[in-house]
């Protein structure tokens, strides 16, 4: 149930007193509550659960892990 899906903010669209965004999940766009990430901007990758953006994805941390895993010369991270 704690599934959360990464998506990219494509529009900030707050109304009715609620911080909201439109987030693109590989082509599927959904409205997402941004009350937990008021500083998110268009282009940011966010992790969404139950229509709520939980956190901004740390792209550098993601690349670091994958970089190691792609390079067989390096020791395990």
């Amino acid at each position: 149930m704690c599934l959360a899906v990464p998506g990219q903010v494509s529009e900030i669209d707050s109304r009715e007193g609620l911080a909201e965004a439109v987030v693109d999940f590989g082509g599927v766009r959904k409205r997402v509550c941004l009350e937990g990430l008021p500083e998110a901007r268009v282009g940011d990758w966010v992790l969404v659960h139950a229509g709520f953006a939980l956190q901004q994805l740390d792209e550098a941390a993601a690349e670091e892990l994958l970089g190691w895993l792609s390079d067989p010369e390096q020791p395990a991270p």
Binding site: M1, C2, P6, G36, P38, W45, F52, Q55, L65, P77
Partner: protein, 379 residues
Amino acid sequence: MRYVDEYRDADRVRRLADAVLAEATRPVTLMEVCGGQTHTILASGIQQLLTERVELLHGPGCPICVTPLETLDLALALTELPDVTVCSFGDMLRVPGSHGDLSAARARGGDVRVVYAPLDAARLAACEPDRRVVFLAVGFETTVPAVAAAARWARDRGLCNFFLLVSHVRVPPALELIASDPERRIQAFLAAGHVCTVMGTAEYQPIAATHDMPIVVTGFEPVDILQGVLMAVRQIERGEAQVSIQYRRAVRDEGNPAARALIDEVFEATDRPWRGIGIIQQGGLGLRQEYASLDAQQLIPTDALPQPEEPERCRASEVLQGRMRPPECPEFGRGCRPEQPLGAPMVSSEGACAAYFAYRIGDVEDEIASQDPAREAQA
């Protein structure tokens, strides 16, 4: 999908499993806490890759499975009131209450709707002022900010017809309980990534320190799980007991402060019964006094409810605490199957019993074939 597919890559998975086996000099037993992680482990054959050297036991992290029978019975009773709409996440619909489930209540004419987001339920209440809309608020700390945002929005708009049937649970007290078991076999936890995305790691420090157990906050894809296992094994080999984060792309030490503030505004820690386990001290979140007007319990007198009846043959308690694997339950695949579940762990897609059944692990294979050849042909 970006940030997902790369973490399922078979070569990366194998390299990490090899690294674990190279570094684990003696057998270890770990527990992954979250049902989503359990699913990944079974779906991608991680236990087989790790051999018996590294045993993974499955933890209590299936919110659907631990939602108490009383809550379900209350939800079922609410569907019988003429002006009430019960909104729920889809996974709750087939969880058995004492007498039937929500999908049966809907078939009987109850107004039960599946929503994807708690805010959708609040908006429904705003659109339909003549109905009382109840959201069945289940889930771990991951889900609570979304519910808190809906509660605050409803209150700020002065909605009088939006209610929450709250059964939120907190992970750290459950881990404390499992870690304190005098017969405990596990040496480390792989903690639930998205819970810590919200909450951060501070609550886990005392558990690691008191029980001398490494806790590695881990993600949900095969690469994440194996890196989490590797980090835990390294700590065990060095005799350390730290809280560390594998799932760096989504978890910061402090969690998400804005989401935590939202939780704190609406909810406070409270004792809560976990289905199959019993009351866990401070093991849940309940509405604060300021939000008590949203409490759905007031809609129905609790003495009007049936006495909760748990099927005696279900061994969910042992399964949820990692004392028993699902195939060891005598009912597994026999009296208890996804289409006719005895207990919640066989219903929820994240329940450990459902996961073992789905991936045909244990001796269920022969049982299925002997009982229903058509089903086997389908699979």
